[in-house]
Amino acid sequence: MIEVEGLSRRYGDVVAVSDVSFNVQRGEVVGFLGPNGAGKTTTMRMITGFLPPSQGQVAVAGHDLEAAPLDARRAVGYLPETPPLYPEMRVSDYVRYVAALKDVPRSERSEKVEKALEACALADVSRKVIGRLSKGYRQRVGLAQAIVHEPEVLVLDEPTAGLDPQQINEIRRLISDLAEEEGRTVILSTHILPEVENICKRVLLISGGRIRLDGPLDEVRGTGTLEEVFLREASVG
């Protein structure tokens, strides 16, 4: 579903991501771990087509990002680190607008918007103005816009940041459902370790712009707790 090959990105002289390669299969939930500044967001931005790579290729759902950028972008739902919200809009209007941008046919729009709002437990605030919502609600609106067009691939940059434990649980359940029941492929970044242990079957650990570890959760954890692995590998970069 996601094929990343020799991906590098430089900002001027700074190398943010260096020669990153990995594949993600359909229905997999991959945890993208790493300390702040490791290159998680940069890598995700390249997968979603926001940033062009300095080197390397990305293909999403079989569409090469350079050769067929619109098809590739259509197949991705993306929740950036800061949810891309318009504070003056109402929740349902906003999700509907995103649906239009993502090419959801007009006849299916109402139904899919409702479904996304339902899935993110937003039905009761759908007529509220986004700017007046709490941080947890806004994060969920961000998630709703990422899933509204039922993309094959979900790229979530710290999806549970700023949520309370109850909300974190709901989001985790939602992500698991999306992967298990609907076969969506999810890549999510986080530096909260228990999150990875709860929903991800596979871990990608990135540090200093390079992939340090890539494997099933159990295998990665084999050498100690995930925390130990994280601290050991993170310090390498």
């Binding site: 087509g49 926001f50 062009p52 993306y78 950036p80 891309p84 003056e88 809009m89 239009a100 941008l101």
Partner: protein, 260 residues
């Protein structure tokens, strides 16, 4: 096309969800009302004065021309009005998307950069259209009480619409350069005033070979002929080139966000 309309529609709805739109429209209508009633009052006073002198009677018809003495001067004032008002419409176009992070949503959607630019521009253009229509309502009232020439009147309104369209394109481009709407608005205002003042600059230059091109660039030199009822190809080209140039630059500026 549906993307362009979706972006344009969101833009318009958002403007009406904030007080900006209403404040701007109220300010504009009050100002336009003053300008029109003012020119009309001066006109009527002068006509009365001419009527009072019997030997001028033969010139009365020539003098009492609504197009020449009411509509054209009123619309002429709109040049400066647009220079002040349009930056308020364009300042948020792209800078706010950049500040909110919503530009990331647009640039990762299956939407081309052109569609984003055109959607935003179309929304501002709707506003310019509303402004011109409001002015047309004032001119329209003159048709009830007098008989201005229709073609001349339409040409004048087309002239200020094109002027507004060019200022809008420039404002959109400037807005694509910064994350701060305030900075975008102030720079757009200054740029508009500079384009307006080029005529004074040209007037101060003695060398005609140097003054002519500067005069050509000045905004009002491409509006004044249409205010006198004449639509010239060279004016259409001037505004067309400005619009295409600034929208292309805006597109390039957005594309360059990807490379930072």
């Amino acid at each position: 096309m549906s993307h362009v309309l979706a972006i344009c529609g969101r833009e318009l709805r958002s403007l009406f969800a904030t007080p900006t739109a209403y404040v701007l429209l109220a300010f504009y209508l009050i100002f336009a009302g003053f300008v029109f009633t003012g020119s009309l009052r001066i006109f009527l006073e002068q006509v009365e004065q001419v009527q009072a002198i019997p030997q001028y009677a033969q010139y009365l018809e020539l003098f009492a021309n609504l197009n020449l003495r009411v509509i054209a001067p009123a619309l002429g004032t709109f040049i400066l009005l647009f220079i002040f008002v349009i930056p308020f419409l364009t300042m948020r176009a792209f800078s706010e998307e950049r500040a909110n992070g919503t530009i990331e949503l647009l640039l990762t959607s299956p939407v081309s950069t052109w569609q984003i630019v055109l959607g935003k521009y179309l929304a501002v253009l709707c506003w310019v259209g509303i402004f011109v229509l409001a002015a047309a309502a004032f001119s329209g009232m003159l048709f009830v009480y007098g008989n201005p020439e229709l073609g001349w009147t339409v040409a004048g309104h087309l002239g200020i619409f094109l002027l507004g369209a060019a200022l809008a394109a420039m404002g959109c481009f400037i807005s694509s350069l910064t994350r701060s709407p305030i900075i975008a608005g102030v720079i757009a205002l200054i740029a508009g005033l500079l384009l307006f003042m080029l005529n004074f600059l040209a007037g101060a230059i003695e060398n005609p070979a140097l003054a002519a091109p500067i005069r050509y660039l000045a905004l009002e030199n491409h509006v004044d002929k249409s205010l006198s009822g004449l639509i010239r190809l060279q004016d259409l080209v001037y505004f067309g080139v400005l619009i295409v140039l600034f929208l292309t630059l805006a597109r390039t500026a957005l594309e360059s966000l990807r490379w930072r």
